[in-house]
């Protein structure tokens, strides 16, 4: 058992309101620079939709992530041989048009134009060439199902749905969507790290943050294609690749990452998770249907004395262990079984987990007759000429999930590697909490029914209260349990500090010879 700690995340999709505040906070801090204008280390996508860059989930196009060949896994589009063959021209590279060409407007023309017969306009100019352009695409042009025929209908997650099911999803009355905020998953088996010919990418030992060393990066851009989530980007101005750094300067000083700190819906949770690094390779190589179970079993119980002993043997600090014990991520993922990794089938073992959205699932759309109602109205009154009813009743406990207007297969393709039973489980649990709270607050459901629902989901009322608290009432310090950075220990992974240990006063990092004395 090789216990390591990882700063891990949970995004509660049911709470995401799609405001893009996280994206803007991230952009303002990190990517408002030349060469980085097109990058969104954090972005929020509408699902169904093709996302950013377009169709990033379709590995037939971008060849990202791992694939299982025989018994072992190998990178789909990179690696030693494929990487060497394609090193000067990576054939699966996303181009700027797959993201979008960033632009601004010549706002000064509005106030500085000389007097004339025409109203001055602010022409759009490319942030890459500086010349006027026709805007072809923006970072979120598929937001809220905009341009559905082009974007939502081409969602790669729809691939296993029958044409009739797909058609039903896009009927106006049945249409539903939810938001998927995405940052770097800081995976346990990161494809970007494995693909880098320069060895510039590394997973930080102390907290598992995946970083690109800007001094070592040689712009091969293998990571750009290898990351199946398309969360490494190439800075065309700096000539280096960049990615989400999980705001490590903030984490090290005890602050939540900017996207999480600014989250309006408070959907984001961050905490330490202990995992067994010995099992990474084995877990990443199992059959597709076992991936999630094996991934979950790698995340170790921070209360288990054996785990604690192994963690201490690995030099994990007591404060980090303490943070792991009160980690909201561990609770959501392991204790309550509510959160799942995004696209586990890419085999990178992502450490960002998503609580699936219940809202589009919860309501069913029923066909009802309005005849009785219309009979009461006068002949000039406006009547509804459709016969659909958006039904959120809880008459049947689990019926709504099966009859949901959102096909489970779609969610399963995203969050459980296509396994519908696996995605149904957290949805059922979320529903049980809702029914339980409805009994408590509204009271139109019997206590027996509420407790039955909890029992079916495998929860006790105490657990339900805890889930309710962490979902709805949680304060800042409940949502973000950030361990002390222990830079003084972490630095020892990179350099030897023994010479200075125990010395009084100011020391030197290098000896006298190295300092030229």
């Amino acid at each position: 058992m090789d216990i390591r700690s990882q700063v891990s995340m949970v995004f509660h999709l049911d709470k995401c309101l799609g405001c893009h505040t996280c994206s803007v906070a991230c952009k303002n801090i990190w990517t408002d620079r030349k060469g980085a204008e097109y990058m969104w280390w954090n972005n929020v996508e509408t699902k169904p939709g093709t996302g950013y860059p377009t169709k990033w989930e379709d590995q037939g196009i971008y060849k990202g992530g791992w694939e299982k060949v025989g018994g072992a896994i190998s990178l789909k589009g990179a690696g030693k041989q494929k990487g060497l063959l394609n090193i000067f021209h990576n054939p699966n590279m996303p181009v700027i048009d797959d993201y979008y060409e960033p632009y601004t407007y010549q706002y000064l023309d509005l106030i500085e134009s000389p007097a004339g017969d025409d109203q001055p306009t602010a022409r759009p100019v490319s942030l890459i060439t500086g010349k006027p352009i026709d805007i072809k695409m923006g970072p979120n042009w598929d937001d809220d199902l905009g341009g559905s025929p082009d974007f939502a209908r081409n969602d790669p997650n729809l691939k296993d749905l029958s044409p009739a099911e797909q058609e039903a999803m896009f009927q106006l009355e049945r249409m539903a969507f939810f938001y998927l905020p995405r940052i770097c998953n800081h995976c346990l088996n990161p494809a970007c790290v494995a693909s880098c010919p320069s060895g510039a990418i590394y997973k930080r030992g102390e907290d598992g943050v995946v970083l690109i060393n800007q001094n070592v990066c040689r712009a091969w851009r293998m990571c750009v294609t290898a990351c199946p989530y398309k969360k490494t980007f190439y800075n065309w101005h700096a000539g280096k690749s960049e990615k989400c750094i999980l705001c490590y300067p903030r984490i090290e000083s005890g602050q939540a990452p900017a996207c999480m700190h600014s989250c309006v819906g408070r959907i984001r949770y961050l905490g330490v998770v202990l995992y067994d690094a010995d099992r990474i390779h084995e877990t990443a190589s199992v059959a597709e249907q076992d991936l999630i179970d094996h991934h979950m079993s790698m995340l170790m119980d921070p209360f288990d004395p054996a785990v604690i002993a192994a963690a201490k043997a690995n030099g994990i600090a007591d404060s980090t262990l303490h943070a792991a014990q009160s980690s909201p991520v561990y609770k959501f993922v392991k204790e309550w079984g509510l959160a799942l990794p995004l696209h586990a089938e890419f085999r990178t073992l992502p450490m960002l987990f998503y609580v699936p959205p219940l809202l589009p699932v919860m309501a069913a759309v029923k066909e009802v007759s309005h005849r009785e109602q219309e009979g009461k109205l006068s002949s000039v009154a406006k009547t509804w000429d459709d016969s659909w009813l958006y039904d959120t009743s809880t008459e049947e406990l689990w019926g709504a999930i099966d009859q949901a207007r959102f096909p489970l297969k779609y969610l399963a393709n995203m969050l459980s590697a296509g396994d519908e039973a696996r995605i149904k489980d957290p949805l059922k649990k979320l529903m049980a909490i809702r029914i339980y709270r409805r009994w408590k607050t509204v009271g139109d459901i019997s206590q027996q029914k509420a407790l039955d629902a909890l029992g079916d989901a495998g929860y006790t009322p105490e657990m339900a209260d805890a889930i309710y608290y962490l979902t709805s009432l949680a304060k800042f310090d409940d949502r973000f349990v950030i361990p002390a950075a222990h830079r003084e220990h972490a630095i020892e992974m990179l350099e030897y500090t023994g010479d200075n240990r125990g010395n009084a006063g100011f020391g030197f990092k290098a000896g006298t010879m190295q300092r030229g004395m």
Partner: protein
Amino acid sequence: MINRNFAILQHLVVVLALSGLMASPAAHAQAPQAAAPPAPAAAPTPAEIKLGQDLFDGRARFANKAASCKACHHVHHDAIVGGGSLSTDVTQSFSRMGKDGLTAILGNAPFPVMQAAYAGKELAPDEIQALVAFLQHADQQSQTSMRQPLDVGLKMFGAGAAGVAGLMGFFTLIGRRRKQQSVNQEIYDRQIKSE
């Protein structure tokens, strides 16, 4: 091309003449008539060659301050780097003109440009002698140690074209599974452009 053939012809003639000289005394009288230019004169002294080289190169100044030959002419010689390209390459001028021809030209050039350039700055007889000696030396050296580049005509162009075609085919083959265009190209194609 023509130059080169001419040079080979000259060379052959010189060799023939020399072999004739050595083979029989009878040939001695015939040889000068058989060769168009006169037969090579007596070998110049190293001091003359050195002086001629310096004069050609501009290291030594002409007594009348005339411009050095190198300003306009090039000669293939180990000691001369990058002579001018304004006028002819004089490497083989000794073979063409012979000692008398060169001496006459240098004394009173029949070329308008050279006449103008050397008007009032005539070369002294010993300078002419040194220059002729140097040119003779350079000519001999170029025939013994310098190889003219092989003229391959259209063959080089053909090989280049075939190579390009081959490489293009090879790269097309390698890149056949490449992502050919943006995934959004279909959308972009439909969009209305302002220009």
